[in-house]
């Protein structure tokens, strides 16, 4: 990827949500995850993905230029739609939250339903209804 080194010093975190295309198979999802992990290692990107068959909720961390390049591709990726950015902030001082993960994965299930319900008004997990703050808290809890 072409990127000016002068643009790579700013570390940011981005969080977005999107709706999975209804015809996406389990294999397609495995592909997405594998692809993301490979590319992220190469590009110094770390992050966390939550997926429940309907919604993606993802936090990515890395250089501002790299993340924006990735975001441009994600907006036009036909495997999901209605991508919405919830938060983009510069990581100062405390650094990355997901530095150990090229892309960590969490799948909401009956086992961990209480954690998702903790921040939700609805029984079913829907990140489109959650504030950025709730999502940040949820992500932090998943990391511990």
């Amino acid at each position: 990827m072409t990127q000016k080194t002068s643009e790579s010093h700013i570390l940011v975190s981005m969080t977005y949500i999107s709706r999975a295309n209804p015809d996406m198979s389990d294999e397609a999802f495995s592909d997405i995850l594998r692809q993301a992990q490979e590319n992220n290692v190469k590009n110094g990107i770390t992050g966390m993905l939550i997926f429940n068959n309907y919604y993606f909720l993802q936090t990515i961390e890395g250089s501002r230029a790299q993340l924006n390049h990735l975001l441009g591709n994600l907006v036009n990726d036909p495997r999901h739609y209605d991508l919405q950015l919830l938060e983009t902030r510069e990581l100062k001082g405390k650094g990355r939250e997901w530095s150990r993960w090229s892309m960590n994965l969490a799948l909401p299930s009956t086992d961990n339903a209480a954690l998702y319900l903790k921040y939700s008004t609805t029984a079913e997990f829907n990140p489109y209804l959650l504030s950025a703050e709730s999502i940040r808290e949820l992500m932090t809890e998943l990391n511990h």
């Binding site: 002068s6 036009n76 991508l83 510069e90």
Partner: protein, 169 residues
Amino acid sequence: MEQSEFLEKRPSNMEEGRHLILRLTYVSRHNAENSNIEVTRILSQSRRNNERDGITGALVINDEYFLQSIEGSRPVINALFRKLVNDKRHHALQVIECSEVEERLWSKWSMKHLAPSEQDREYVRKFSAGTVFDPYIMSTSQILRFIETLSDLQERRDKDGVKTKSLGF
């Protein structure tokens, strides 16, 4: 699951998250030589659409860059953002900051136009490590404070009725 069944059950929904105010600030490089006519057209078009969609904001335009802050309901801002990503009038769009806010910063303007003038050079220096204005290497807070500083300066000049020579830097 059938697509129609799916869509019926889970429509793309502009209602979800619409109670949240989102502010998104980005920088990009313009493609064409921006004649005054083009700038005027971009501004009048965005003001018309923004008024309709409840969006407010500020746009800094100089010789090379757009610096724009838009604020409004979360799904509405994101619908606009997805269009901006594919807008052929600019490229290398980078989101600088995006956050939920309690109140708007630009509530008085459907799109406040900020044109840096020759006199504003000192403010370029104030927020830049080098001599050349390059928002791509500026930090989030430098960019946000630069936009707010330009806005304050313009308010003061408008009040005093000072005429400025608009120049890129």
